[in-house]
Symmetry: C2
Subunit: 319 residues, 2 copies
């Protein structure tokens, strides 16, 4: 039995995972990301112990612990080098902290988006596919690249920052310092902003009613819901968003030619509606009809992907 930790800015989600990638117990606790790393890991350890109790297991049943974390991991030293949203993380050893509670248990670390991509590859949409890019549309756009069954993160383990691929160098400022990054256009945050901007020009849009005339009630589903009801503002917002997403997806295809691209994040619930339109946009740009191009898919594991991928990091890294 393996422990997967998905360290998020808001919550620490943890699951006990069996050899068949089933989560046999899971739970979460608030992260308190401003705290010392040792305190955060103490809470994680307490949650692991609670999950062990609940499922009638003991620490002796843990084969290893894997953790997906924001920022840049030092995979070899089982350390998080830096994570911008965690002020106290600085070359912080996950192994040292977790060994306080589970001495001798092998510990692995990985970037959270990479761990989630690995989860989708092992047990989700991309099961059985060896070359896949997972693009997660959330607050930003996260990316995880699997090449030849392995997480690909570059020579410095600093990749893959697909969300910070510039699609329009004259575009709006991105917090990363560059302009017109993929995530400025195709994150859930961007979709919400695009919906707000669009309805300002459509006073008759049904969206105004759907959100009780409160723009703060717009979420990543709003424009899709309205579009499906034939609302013009919704349709135009969705069409433009899919164009933006498609431009980024085509860049990924041209650079990486993965066998599949998995779209994750809340928006993946749009399923076939999203994929049909996205395929319609990208297909005319394939540069030959003599070879196959990437299949588009939506993620199937949701937040469990990060837990399962983290739990199974031992398959990627030597103990």
């Amino acid at each position: 039995m393996y422990v997967g930790i998905d360290l998020g800015g808001i919550n620490i989600a943890i699951g006990l995972v069996d050899d068949d990638y089933n989560i046999i117990a899971k739970g979460s606790v608030p992260t308190g990301r401003e705290r010392e790393f040792s305190e955060i890991m103490a809470d994680a350890a307490a949650l692991i112990n609670r999950l062990l109790d609940e499922s009638g297991k003991t620490a002796a049943d843990i084969k290893c612990i894997g953790m997906g974390s924001p920022g840049v991991p030092d995979v070899e030293n089982r350390t998080i080098i830096a994570a911008s949203s965690f002020p106290k993380i600085h070359h912080s050893s996950a192994q040292d902290e977790l060994h306080k509670y589970f001495p001798g248990v092998p510990v692995f670390v990985e970037n959270d988006a990479n761990a989630a991509a690995y989860g989708e590859k092992l047990a989700g949409a991309a099961k059985g596919i060896d070359n896949v890019v997972v693009v997660t549309l959330g607050t930003g756009v996260g990316g995880g690249v699997i090449i030849d069954k392995k997480i690909y993160a570059g020579f410095n383990h600093g990749g893959s920052e697909i969300g910070h691929m510039v699609l329009n160098f004259n575009g709006p400022q991105c917090p990363c310092g560059r302009k017109g990054c993929f995530e400025v256009y195709a994150s859930a945050t961007a979709l919400i902003r695009q919906t707000k901007d669009m309805i300002a020009s459509y006073p008759d849009s049904i969206i105004h009613e759907m959100i009780d005339h409160d723009p703060d009630k717009i979420n990543g589903k709003t424009a899709f819901d309205a579009a499906k009801l034939g609302d013009r503002a919704g349709e135009k917002t969705v069409a433009k968003f899919i164009e933006y997403l498609g431009i980024g997806v085509l860049n990924i295809i041209n650079v990486l030619q993965p066998e599949a691209i998995v779209i994750g994040g809340g928006i993946c619930k749009e399923g076939k509606y999203l994929l049909d339109r996205l395929n319609e946009f990208i297909t005319p740009y394939f540069y030959t009809d003599q070879i196959p191009f990437a299949k588009l898919m939506t993620a199937t594991l949701g937040n469990d992907a990060g837990i399962i991928g983290a739990a199974m990091l031992w398959q990627q890294q030597e103990a």
Copy 2:
């Protein structure tokens, strides 16, 4: 001794290469790219025989033949599936054609940009570096990706088309169908156009004299030569070109985090002058100072890279 064929739109360049990646004989003949593939390969075979004669070798000394070709190869079947500039190439078997002249000799095929990248990795700028992207600035922008010592071309062998990564989706039309591709901004062709456009606003620029007032004499060196002499139009052209190139390079870094990026094509002769300015542009955009980022280099093998890489394809593929 290995034979490397670099099949170009204008010339077929061929070299005999030894185990230490030295070219012991080389030559070229016009391609005649409109002809039947069998005729093109017959000329290649004749050139191979001439090179063998010149160097006192025989066909029995050939361990294998590798060919880099435009378009998309079927590596497994040693076939070129399609190449847009070669109208008669359509699932054309390099192996069958070359076996007419060199029966039984193992034949390997690869995309030409990938073969050239492999050459730079084996024997050029990126010798000893296992993760490298070679970006060649010519008529277009070609790319070759080496991951973990191996040519990476995606699941369909259709990659990597780095030149067709969109940097500005509102930009000028690219022949590929998309808008604002990397090669629209950073190819040698683009630099020549940018130089022409710039000097139109600078009637006093020394460039007008340098080119005898004939815009057709502008080449990829012109703006650099003028900039080094302190010419304002030259300086502005170079600065803008480096910005464009830098945006593409940063995208490659964010997606692939290679250990090195090698800039190839005629422009790489600008060496340190180019690299210093390119580094100055990209470094502020690295998202952390806690990990190393890609080293920039200029290619060292010139056109020999394609020959050496092709000759050594046997190291990549099973016979």
